[in-house]
Symmetry: C2
């Protein structure tokens, strides 16, 4: 930012210290985090975040999906709040910044307003959305999805992990089955700051990405039903090996990804089967696949090819299939108004910005369906994320949080 | 058998009752059995089998791999014993007869000799081999394999199941970590009666199959090492998705099976991956594949194509791989001498026989490497096995056990 600027700025070291303290809760095996939603580690982090919020004089409300809203009152406190947020949960082998920066950056903004004694017209809330990653409970972004009316609350609370643990029960176990209704209240707008998850900003040497659109992403959870039989004697033509059907689809999906590369991506994300054993053909298998492209029309073509491969695999292997879940994101529009405020704040602070598309799902996607929404990126090293080696540097992160601070301030005083 | 024959015959009803009693231990979900090796159910069945053997006056010895040998003394008891056997463990969704018929049929033969007061020159032993199926502990046929010197005992005892339970510890837990050395003693010969696991005998209306050779089977356990990364932003060319590599190989294996059908078979048997989750590329995956053909030269060609597919998949996905286990069976030669005795007994009893190849692995394969071995099949309904719907009928089973009785008698008096 410009030398001699007298605009309020965050305390970068305090933000970094909070990130480091968070980075010790739920350690992975290689320096990162394994803090999947509603694990003991997630509970511990929630407790710490709640204490921090209370120490900052914020009032914390937990909704029935476990999302935590830390509120700083406005002068006109009945006005709908400006909401800032992201998520504190991680992948099973995740990093210390993904999502976490968005929540702790929001907290740092409110701490800064406290330090400076700055009042705002509107209240400001910082939210920690439950289970953004979907690493333990499928689907991802489920709590913001319920908030935005995309998913039914009771359906979401009934989701089970691989061991049969139930989302709603795990919330209760950790003391985060809150009483506040999920959504159903007016929100003035939603800001989310997230690490980029690619290396464009780092390559350009620009500390702030403004997301102007998303990759159109379409995902499918598919179940195959075949039949067990003895591997040795059962001829190919009599087999109904669900694992073979699953593998054929996963391989075809990878091929489709390559066909539409470099812009397009298609992912063999998950495969489980039963009995999944030597000597016996598998009775059932389940897979998760997805297709992503910046142009929704191309994504639709990829999906069409994927569905044809699914049909062909099922026929070849004599296996039945059912698409048990479809999901979609990336077509959402972000708010030109909010983006304008961000551009203004960046100019005032002399922070260069870069317009870009988001390639991953974020809570901001669902929120954009119900309120003006702005998604911002800050750089991450080598674009490595969802990996324990994920790294950021404070010097390239601090400017993005300061821009967010001023965009939020402008909106909260509107 | 011929009317008026005065040859000793088994008590078919007693055999059937024993099979039915066994069929209640470790019930599956659809009328069959889930009695995987060294489970509580396997322990219960072992206890029952041990009691039955003792009630029949047999002395039971358990070796360090947990295999149970029930011995009926011979007149010249120092001579190497005639061994009959198979296994009492099942697949996770298995039937009530596979393997079990071979053990309980052997016991019925000794009960019959007792009833008739028939002494034999050589001792006769009936063996229940531990973990033939390999459904819980990989590899299959591991205890007969150690007995035959194919696997190292300590390596086998250190095998772990998916939950980390150790073979040797599970043996101790159930009280079947025996003190007898594994193998290292002379065995006169080995007979194994097994259900066919295909429908050839049923279609032909013939109650006894004489196995004259095996399908050459080659199996591979392969581990892929890739790298986690975020699904959304990571372009295809930068991915190292271990699950995509695994799926490509499994799909190629299925293709190879079809290419060499109907005689050839290739199987996508197993796939596990980690994290195996939406939103993150998988760091590692493990698969089991196998190739089977009656002509070893063709099996070799199938393997060659499989290895080329493995190479191509690893290159395309930028994933490393390691073949962590190779296994092979089906090239073994069965004993012409023993087959001659079986043909003689079948003629005397007027039981039609059919020469055939075995398509599945059996303990007899490994035993054939160290002693004259004979593998016999009896019919199973519709060829359905490794499935809870597996069925046999006593009327089509009894003749095969009677032929075995007389072949064993002839050999034991040799």
């Amino acid at each position: 930012m410009g030398i001699g600027s007298n605009l309020p700025l965050i305390d970068g070291q305090r933000l970094w210290d909070s990130l480091m303290e968070s980075g010790r809760i739920g350690p992975g095996k290689a320096g990162g985090l394994r803090r999947v939603a509603l694990s003991d580690a997630d509970g511990e982090m929630r407790d710490l975040y709640g204490r921090w919020c209370e120490e900052a004089g914020l009032s914390v409300t937990v909704d029935a999906m476990g999302s935590m809203f830390a509120r700083r009152a406005g002068r006109e406190d009945d006005l709908p709040p400006v909401l800032i947020g992201s998520h504190l949960d991680t992948q099973v082998a995740g990093g210390k910044y993904d999502g976490i920066l968005g929540v702790l950056g929001g907290l740092e903004i409110l701490r800064t307003l406290n330090d400076r004694g700055i009042e705002t017209r509107r209240p400001i809330e910082v939210v920690n959305w439950t289970n953004e990653e979907g690493a333990r409970f499928n689907p991802p972004m489920v709590a913001s999805g319920v908030f935005a009316g995309v998913f039914e609350r009771d359906w979401a609370l009934a989701r089970e992990d691989d061991d049969g643990a139930v989302f709603g029960e795990e919330l209760k176990r950790l003391g985060y089955a809150g009483e506040a209704p999920v959504g159903g209240r007016e929100v003035d707008c939603y800001f989310e700051l997230h690490i980029e998850q690619d290396d464009a900003l780092e390559r350009l040497g620009i500390p702030l990405g403004i997301v102007t659109g998303g990759y159109a992403a379409r995902g499918f959870n598919i179940r195959f039903e075949g039949e067990t039989a003895h591997t040795g004697p059962t001829p190919m033509a009599k087999r109904r090996n669900a694992l073979a059907a699953a593998a054929r689809v996963l391989a075809a999906v990878d091929d489709i990804g390559w066909k539409y590369a470099p812009e397009g991506k298609a992912t063999a994300a998950r495969c489980i089967a039963w009995p999944n054993r030597l000597g016996i053909l598998s009775e059932w298998a389940e897979i998760i696949i997805d297709f992503r492209h910046p142009d929704p029309a191309v994504t639709a073509k990829m999906v069409e090819e994927g569905m044809a491969a699914l049909e062909a695999a099922a026929e070849k292997t004599r296996v039945d299939y059912e698409i048990i879940q479809r999901w979609s994101f990336g077509d959402e529009n972000f708010s030109e108004d909010l983006i304008g405020l961000v551009r203004g704040a960046a100019t005032a602070l002399d922070v260069p910005t870069h317009d870009m598309f988001s390639q991953a799902g974020h809570d901001a996607y669902y929120m954009s369906r119900i309120t003006p929404t702005c998604l911002l990126f800050s750089p991450c090293r080598d674009g490595i994320t969802h990996n324990e080696a994920e790294e950021i540097e404070l010097a390239y992160t601090e400017p993005s949080v300061n821009v967010l601070l001023h965009a939020v301030l402008a909106r909260a005083d509107r």
